[in-house]
Subunit: 366 residues, 2 copies
């Protein structure tokens, strides 16, 4: 009886998909499909009123509430090409009543046919119909014409500052060149201005928004309870990294890496160099990581403080724990096909996007 009911609820947006059970180290978990039939979903965020938002890379922002799906109007125009399009979505940490403060990252069309990773903010009422007062807070300069390595996650720090991760746009040397934003993490205020405590504000020729650089393509980010920023980034072959981001840090790409080029060629100067940061963990072989979360909820006390990272390539959720951190578990099933994003909802449930099936899943203890 209980199972029948749950399946019914889960089906509202799943168009036939049913709740599933999956084994984990702490016992079975229940997976409910909250939305399915999505076209290349990229980011998911929950609202306090039981609604949630999902981006589709092609440019749509969708609002789901009690079985009703709404395509949100007023979303910025994106250049949906290659890995670019409408990317991350997050809601301001203190925004728990409408109008909700919604942040979006996207590849913003630029004059000449290129695009740059950008951050916009808008406000959404409880109906989810239209994003209002939309403002572009940040746009990477100079962007680029290629369709690769946009990043891009947006996360909020402890003092309301915003971090946006930006890939190297396929232009490797640009990650070491601080006159542009590519291959960096930027830190800005909600006004769009560089954070006044940024490291290079007074360094000539350096973009003032830069917080750290030498990144390849960070597609996961999280701020922990102490306010530290962590990112996970796609490396070269055998060099996907988890990094604890420090102020002004140079994370080495493409000078140092634990990976090799995909054609087998050596990268740069090796694995370590003075004044360049070491990863806290790296995967060899590469898993193609996207989405990152640190669990803090009540549903799995055993997992509190652990990292969860999605794998696009090997179709699993990595759980990492310990000091130094290690991958301690692979949560894997037919439902974990190409994990693109993973978040913790207010109630402690874990939500993730399976890009492979175009589904948003909600995980709770069985």
């Amino acid at each position: 009886m209980i199972r029948v009911f749950l399946t019914f609820v889960a089906c509202v947006w799943a168009m036939g998909a049913a709740a599933q059970t999956l084994g984990t180290s702490t016992g079975p978990v229940r997976l409910e499909p909250m939305a399915s039939g999505l076209d290349t979903p990229w980011g998911v965020a929950v609202l306090g009123d039981g609604a949630f938002l999902v981006t589709e890379r092609g440019g749509r922002l969708l609002h789901f509430k009690d079985g009703k799906r709404t395509v949100v109007a007023g979303v910025p125009r994106v250049k949906a090409q290659g890995q670019g399009g409408l990317l991350d979505v997050t809601v301001g940490r203190s925004s728990v009543r409408p109008p909700y403060e919604v942040f979006l990252t996207f590849s913003k069309p630029q004059p000449g046919g290129g695009a740059g990773t950008a951050l916009a903010r808008g406000y959404l009422d409880a109906s989810g119909r239209r994003l209002r007062d939309v403002q572009v807070l940040f746009e990477a300069a100079p962007g680029g014409k290629g369709g690769r390595h946009f990043g891009s996650r947006v996360v909020e720090g402890r003092n309301k500052e915003l971090y946006v991760t930006i890939g190297d746009r396929g232009d490797r040397p640009s990650a070491q060149d601080r006159s542009n934003h590519n291959g960096s993490v930027v830190r800005i205020r909600r006004s769009g201005k560089p954070d006044p405590r940024n490291p290079f504000l007074n360094t000539p020729g350096v973009q003032p928004e830069i917080w750290s650089y030498g990144h390849r393509n960070p597609q996961g980010a999280v701020v922990n309870g102490r306010g530290d920023l962590w990112v996970v980034e796609h490396g070269a072959k055998g060099g996907d990294e988890i990094n604890r981001v420090v102020k002004g840090g140079n994370f080495g790409w493409p000078v140092i890496s634990y990976g090799t080029h995909y054609n087998g060629a050596k990268i740069g100067e090796g694995t370590a160099k003075p004044a360049m940061e070491q990863p806290r963990f790296y995967w060899d072989p590469s898993i193609a990581p996207s989405g990152m979360m640190i669990y803090s909820g009540r549903l799995w006390p055993e997992w509190q403080g652990d990292f969860f990272v999605g794998s696009l390539k090997f179709d699993y959720i990595a759980r990492l724990s310990g000091l130094p951190i290690q991958e301690v578990e692979q949560i894997k099933g037919p439902e974990t096909e190409r994990i693109r994003d993973i978040i913790e909802a207010y109630d402690g449930s874990i939500w993730f996007i399976a890009e492979g099936s175009g589904t948003v899943w909600r995980m709770t203890p069985e």
Copy 2:
């Protein structure tokens, strides 16, 4: 424009009441009336799907969701007399999908016309229409005929155990008499059985559910992040207490107290006695405390770890902080009339019941 919208949302259940602003030590807060026109509301609990539950002492359990109010069927029959009736409501900590596990405390009619504080559990689907599989897990023996001092809060410990607070039923010596449950905190498993680690399981003539005793009328309870149980209780005149409840502890009523009888007479033997626990804080004059919460949310980082206690008598919310704990703030306005319950919702907002106006308020930063 924003204000107009919020007021509209707030009015759905407020029948005309509007959102209000109140000053606090950390800046203004917004109060939204989530439900009003209630008849002696006693307990409030939120569900993960945006719905919430409210008890009315007369015996109704109400389910609110998106502007729809449902009277929940299947609630146990109560003896609504004096301070008795349908009292607390809480939802299992891990119960984040339907059917939700709902706990209710109430004064259960007993043969001969009396009533005893009891705990029932039932399961509620997302419609909120009917509590199913209702089971009485605990009933105080022997109860009593009077209409005073039932307690009664129910809170969940870290290992899924349940604590229920029980008043002395106006029969003062019974609080020291462990052959009955009056004036005690009981600890049981979800099966209704005494917790196997209870202190008096092997003590002849003692009720095996008792975890602590010597309480007068505890109407607030909370388990902190370390698993410690704290209660707040109505004392005699000038003797309202916050207690950190320890296993097997004797909290002294009516042998010791910082209060006096309301007729001015001395109570028992003074304020302290060997083998009896001291309060962690007491109020003189008494505030008539009901409802207790420790804040852990993201909306007010400054308040994390602080206690919040409602005052029935002086119409405010007490914030307590520090070691030893002290009352550091009184949150007070026309909306805080006779605070009966106070909880933290999943999203970090603070919800409280103003019994005076029959309103459930939700507090968020302005």
